[in-house]
Symmetry: C2
Subunit: 359 residues, 2 copies
């Protein structure tokens, strides 16, 4: 078993990575009170809910099964979690367990942040994307109809338990979506990892145990380092949002339905790379490497059909990274070296949108 | 003008107290970005909204007017605040201004805690209760149908601006409800203040400027000291909840409609004092002093009509102060000296409920 720590003083917590962790007592070991509620979705419940609750039998253990999908990441679904907690009389010493992908993790984490002004929660991510990104770092949220993750909190989990065996049941498309965030770490701060991912593409696509665990470990280590240095995104944590401002606009445009989050991030990272090229920072060959690394996973590298420049402008103006009217973007100096800036020639953004949109 | 500081390291902030502060530039001086949204209710808007917005003319200043009343302190109303912020494209650098009583302050504060994972807000309390209690200390929340303040966050304001002139329009019943929380500070930690309040009862009831300002100042000072020592209620901050566990049960029983919060706290403090008597901690003469000090303001000192012992037991079991199945209560060693404890003879609670309920 691999163990990493996210170092945040009294809010520090471990990340465990191995095959078969759901059958062990790691979750139980991080519950401090005598109540626990496992929240999952309709897809995951039949596969893994029993394995998780089996180890919690000495506690008051309640379960809640939510519908699956980003379109359910709303205040209305959040209210269902509060209703269940109140109905089963969960107190301030309860622990929520988020068993699922990024949607479950973000939503359960936010419920834990707000219930009685804050209770414990444990992340048990079941998608590659959640394992390498959303379960680590304490960003929690639900979506607003006009924008993704607009309502949320910083609330760190007590532990992250990553059982790589759950990836055996993950659909190919979801696995690829997770790879978009894995590749992201290479692009923003770890050029060696980017090269390693290219070199191990075939083994990763075959989901060989060792390289998949290695990719998760290196992703989590990158994430943990960034989060430890800037928990609430006052500075460099924003680098983790490479491709996300473009990506969120595409997700909102497609109603959180047609594209997976990782797919939108993939196309968004290509747009960020293209804009970096327009600014004269990135070479054409590097833009091609970025695009090819994602296309190899059959991830989208262009904007959704029918999305116009005006749609991007409209939706990106609502992004959380707008500060006093200026849109800050994550761009690339080179592969493995990203920066956050609002200081750029706006024409480069215009040309980028022109390149990606028909009108 | 009186100025107090709530000392919380980088989250420290000032409380300003004086007549006529709404017409000054104090609110403007604590706005860091270029957007502000003033959220108020239908009762307060015609009285004071203009005075507040007049000083914010150089900013993007939007307003939102919500219905008045504790029954609207819900997730559904919270969503209206998010909708307005998104519709007017407020960014992470916006500032919310909570212009109203405790309901507005708690709800706007919670909206500020969650919007884009946290934006600035300024408290401009317009009831005595909000001025002396709820606007100070960063507790924010909305109610759940099954329990008060069950969904919320700790989120400190940038400033609290208390214009005592707004009390001129406050109904007598609301003024008295605020006095319940003022008297609370005397009961839990400031016996001299308790005596001062008795001595100045007539002048306070006549709303004489100087004694009212003095009562607010001494209340806020007590609150600020308690909060500075224990921001997130790991310990002695819970003393501020004297009467609140009983009170919340009464508010929930009456559907947040019939009783004002301060009225429920008044009856709840008498119940806490009675239980302290049952435990042999408080003398009968002191219980009478507590009860008389509240009755002098025509505040309730008995339970609501029709509320049975079983209703209390049921509703108090959901209180946030339940830890691992044990209900912790704030009780009185003597007037001016409270304690929080789960270590008490449960029969004393039973006898207290018997004394206050017909069945």
């Amino acid at each position: 078993m691999q163990k990493l720590d996210v170092s945040l003083a009294e809010r520090s917590y471990p990340i465990y990575i191995d095959r078969g962790l759901l059958g062990q007592d790691l979750i139980r070991g991080h519950v401090r009170g005598n109540q626990v509620m496992v929240v999952t979705n309709e897809t995951i419940a039949p596969l893994y809910l029993d394995a998780v609750t089996r180890g919690l039998g000495d506690l008051q253990c309640d379960t809640l099964i939510l519908p699956d999908g980003e379109q359910h990441k709303t205040l209305a679904t959040l209210e269902r979690i509060f209703d269940a907690l109140m109905a089963h009389r969960h107190s301030r010493t309860t622990t929520l367990v988020a068993l699922g992908g990024g949607v479950i993790g973000d939503m359960v984490g936010f419920a834990a942040a707000c219930y009685q002004r804050g209770v414990d929660f444990i992340q048990v991510p079941t998608t590659l994307l959640a394992q390498v990104d959303s379960s680590v770092g304490g960003k929690t949220a639900v979506n607003h109809p006009r924008g993704k993750n607009m309502i949320g909190a910083f609330h760190q989990p007590r532990a992250v338990v990553i059982d790589t065996a759950v990836l055996d049941t993950l659909p190919e498309r979801e696995f690829a979506a997770g790879m978009a965030e894995v590749i992201k770490y290479g692009l923003i701060r770890d050029p060696e990892f980017f090269q390693w991912l290219l070199d191990n593409q075939a083994a990763l696509a075959a989901r060989d145990t060792a390289p998949v665990a290695e990719a998760i470990l290196r992703s989590c280590r990158n994430k943990a380092e960034v989060v430890a240095a800037d928990e609430t995104e006052q500075g460099n944590r924003a680098l983790l949002n490479l491709g996300h401002t473009f990506g969120h606009a595409m997700e909102t445009f497609t109603g959180y339905r047609d594209w997976l989050h990782g797919e939108a991030v993939s196309a968004g990272m290509v747009m960020a790379a293209r804009m970096s090229l327009e600014l004269g920072w990135l070479k054409q060959a590097d833009l091609d490497r970025v695009s090819d690394s994602l296309a190899a996973w059959k991830l989208p590298v262009t904007a959704p059909e029918g999305m116009a420049r005006a749609d991007f402008s409209e939706l990106m103006a609502l992004d959380k990274k707008v500060q006093n009217g200026r849109l800050r973007l994550v761009l690339l100096n080179q592969i493995g070296d990203a920066l956050v800036t609002g200081e750029y020639d706006p024409n480069a953004l215009t040309r980028t949108l022109e390149a990606f949109c028909e009108r």
